[in-house]
Amino acid sequence: MKGSMLTIAVRGVRNNPFRFVATGLAIVLGIGFFVGTSVLTASVSQTLNSSVTQAFSNVDAAVQSSSFIEAQGFKIRPRISRDLIPKIEAVPQAAAVAPFVTGYAQVVGSDGKVLSGGSPSAFAWISQKRLNPLHLVSGHAPAGENQLVVDQGSFVDGHFHLGQKVRLLPLGADQLFTVVGVMEYKSSNQEAQRLVALSQAGAARVFATTEVNQVFVAARSGTTDSQLVAAVAKVLPKGVETETGAQFRTDLQNALGSIVSFISTALRIFAAVALIVGAFIIYNTFSITVAQRTREMALLRAIGATRRQVTRSVVAESLVIGVVSSIAGTLFGLLLGWLALLLFASLGVRLGTSIALPAGGLIAGVLLGTLITLLAAVIPARRAARTPPIAALRAVAADVVGSSRARATVGTCLVAAGVAVVGLSIGSAAPRPLLAGGILLLAGVLTAGPVIARPLAMVVGAPMARFRDPVGDLARQNAARNPRRTSTTAAALMIGVTLVAAATVFASTLRSSLKEQTSGQIKTSLVVSVDSSAAVAGGGLDPNLEGTIGQVPGVTLVSPLRTSIGEQGGSLISVSGINPATASRAFDPGVDAGSLDALAHNGTVAVSGGTARAKGLRVGSSVRLQLSQKTLDLKVVALYEHNQVMGNWVVGNGVFDATVSGRPLDSLILVNTVPSDTARAEGSIAGLLSDNPTATVQTAAAYAKAQGDQVNTLLYVMYGLLGFSVLVALIGIVNTLALSIFERTREIGLLRAVGMTRRQLASTIRYEAGIVGLIGTILGLGLGIIFGWLASVAARKTFPVFVMPWSSLVLIAVVGLLCGIVAGVLPARRAAKFNVLAAIASE
């Protein structure tokens, strides 16, 4: 009997290919996304790891500062003195010693624009071949202050030729470099990205320091790395340490890996959402097909199949589909991962040259897909087994209408509890209770779904019924006739829309808060800034610009801001340097106590109110912080409320420049003008900036808006990732509808016989899909707005401006409706093709 039930299961799959294709598609997409993300992250980390290992493989010991600040896996260490090199060279176990120097520099392309992508940086060329992570592809190594070598990608993208004179940021246009060679990492599968190599003298000039980041040491043959480390350690002063090459490479890998793991965690979350949505679809499909086969099940029971056997046959069926589609999904995931690598490559981000096959991820994909399918099938299977044999004799097989009183009660209670929890915690704005309240609301809506689906369908469909009689009315009745089915289908879409809407609302809060805070904290009419990618890499504006801008007619005030990374109380901080003579006329951080002018004195610092409260600081207290490798004991001379523009720690430029090693760069220059001359001054300043392609001059309002709009990039990435779960949900609508029209074949035949045209029939089905889509969208919008608002409440201390993004939300609703209608196209076409006579005669 066991064998025969399996036979029935296999036949079931074979005889009804469509419904299984649809179920399978949901699994394929969900698992594909999941596997795709793990393939992508595995490929990226494989490439990074192998390149690091290969390029630095001959480093046996690395000497570096013993103090470091750790941020997200990166160990940021101050530079150390070059004077150590002769001491290390004197160590008998050392065969070769080389200074390793790296920092920000960005080459300007032939078209005068900086090359996009990558992480712009410069190395000082290491003359000892074995310790150099780079090797030449053509040309010769940089010699003298004015020569450089570029990576192969930049050479091509920048349309360079050997001997060409190029500009190198952050230096000005008057200082040109000659391209004398093209280089690559000493590893087969990694391209260097936006990297230039300078001579040691050239690096000293660009970085404005002779200090070095690391000293690499190669061991004499016969000496182990640890013997070398022990020997080198003896000659090092306090504050400088050495580690083996292996440890150095591990640190580098960890730093790179932490970015990859951060991205992969984010991707996994989105993959999980797509899988959850997929599980809804799979569950729904099994529920419907089981309902449709009530008579078949009852017949099996009537001729002697036990409940267990019926359950088993449905579960076996799900196993067949689960395994097959999970394998297909895994293959699809490989394809997706590969496409993503290609896509990034085409955008100039060369993440990896070869695709990795993460065995764990692939196996997990197959197992997860199968498991989800099995779980989704269990409830319908048990329901199928409960089919009484007598049902075989009844004519109509229909899904049970799940609008029980218990469901309504539990749903209402959950929603009420959610509202209560939110209401109680709204005052304190504590994130956890707010999240709990939101989840209770979501659970309540999901529980009450089948109860509210019918009234919702009637209300949502009312305009269609009103304006497209009778097609709209029939569509709305159809959407309302199986509330459980409609609600599960809509719920799948609702999840995606909830997240989209929540992200939209919260992004609006961030955007408007950033914009208002920025504009509120800037008193001047113009702002000169560097673009964010250059700023992240360490780029900035030449401080000489301050003086030049000051001579532009109409300019009344020039006030710079520069920033560097420091450490306070064990955590990473950003420290700003300002000009105390002008700052209080340019910046308005809302000074509560003391004055920014007092920063003119040595050994002083201004602190934001939030930080001061957390650290127990007030005007007059003293605080110790690290900036570059130096420890500073500073006296607090001012407290201010708003940290958007200046950050939490501000010192005078005197302190800043004396402490921070290397070339000081401004990240921002605020410029005030005579009102009538603002536009002309803006034009003149733009002319001054023309030799720095990363710099822009904007009005304060435009700068503030741009600050806010930075949020958009992240929001669009989220839209893209959530798009996958929305796509899965739409397939769910297609699926449910296709199964429903199959069930309604006779009814459709009747409608056609009494005069419904194909076009009317197709519209009816498209509208039904539109109504289901709209229900999902409206519920999702409602929940999403609540979630986004709760997130905004939780973050209101930092981001106080809440603006409801109405136009975006309306757009989401329209897109939801359209998506639903599009999802209905295929089933509609299918239904319209039914042969009228065959449909009437069908059982």
Binding site: Q477, R481, L750, G755, Q760
Partner: protein
């Protein structure tokens, strides 16, 4: 009631014309050796205001004839007309519009749309056509079929007989040229079946409705003005003013 009805009936009985006809109608299913000749060249006309029953043993082609004449199934050769419209030249769209505007249907079972109420089911063809129902006429039909106090019930709240009455009303409400009924009493008990037949007879008498009914029930056939007998896809006999006994006698001869 009768006077009111007479006022709305268009064509006097004296000027009878043909509501539908078939000329040399052939229908072949399949090809080659497996081909089945469902209709083997049928010539027939249905007069306006006449109630015709089509009878014959299983496989005689009676349902095929009806489906072909109603534009639900195309003929292999020959012609079928509704009024003066030849069906073979019409697209699916035009056939649908023809069914909607000129024909009424009563099926054996599953006759109603389950999501619509009784009255909505009755008015469905008019709504599909975007035509405004004539309120007096609708009232007359609803009352005639005895569904006046159940008009807002849904099909699952109605008995089989009541559902079939709604189907009769739906077929009549658009004042079609012709009503096709396919075994309309096949799923009903005898008493309910008689009621339905009485309504159909009534529609012919009072509203001058043309009805073509396929049945295998001699008693049902006795409500018709004329019975056409089919065997092996051909018309083999015809009987005017039939009664059940004579029909039974004729049917018995098919067994010989």
């Amino acid at each position: 009631m009768t006077e009111q009805a007479a006022g709305v009936v268009g064509v006097p009985r004296a000027q009878r014309s043909v509501a539908a006809r078939a000329i040399e109608a052939r229908k072949i299913y399949g090809t080659g050796e497996t081909a089945v000749h469902a209709l083997g060249g049928v010539d027939i006309g249905f007069n306006r205001g006449q109630f015709t029953a089509i009878m014959g043993p299983s496989g005689s082609g009676k349902s095929t004839l009806m489906h072909c004449m109603a534009g639900l199934d195309p003929l292999t050769s020959g012609q079928a007309f509704i009024g003066d419209t030849e069906l073979s030249g019409l697209s699916d769209q035009n056939l649908t519009l023809l069914r909607r505007d000129k024909l009424g249907f009563i099926f054996q079972s599953f006759n109603l749309v389950p999501t619509l109420t009784a009255i909505e089911n009755m008015l469905l063809p008019l709504r599909l056509a975007g035509r405004d129902p004539d309120a007096d006429w609708v009232e007359l039909i609803v009352t005639t079929v005895g569904m006046a106090n159940r008009r807002d019930h849904r099909p699952n709240e109605l008995s089989g007989g009541q559902q079939q009455r709604v189907a009769v009303a739906r077929a009549l409400v658009g004042r079609p040229e012709l009503v096709f009924a396919d075994e309309p009493t096949g799923n009903l008990d005898r008493k309910t079946g008689v009621e339905i037949l009485a309504f159909m007879r009534d529609a012919v008498n009072r509203f001058d409705q043309t009805i073509v009914m396929v049945t295998h029930d001699p008693n049902a056939a006795s409500y018709a003005d004329r019975v056409v007998f089919l065997a092996d896809g051909k018309i083999v006999d015809e009987m005017l003013e039939p009664d059940a006994d004579r029909v039974i006698d004729r049917m018995k001869r098919f067994g010989e």
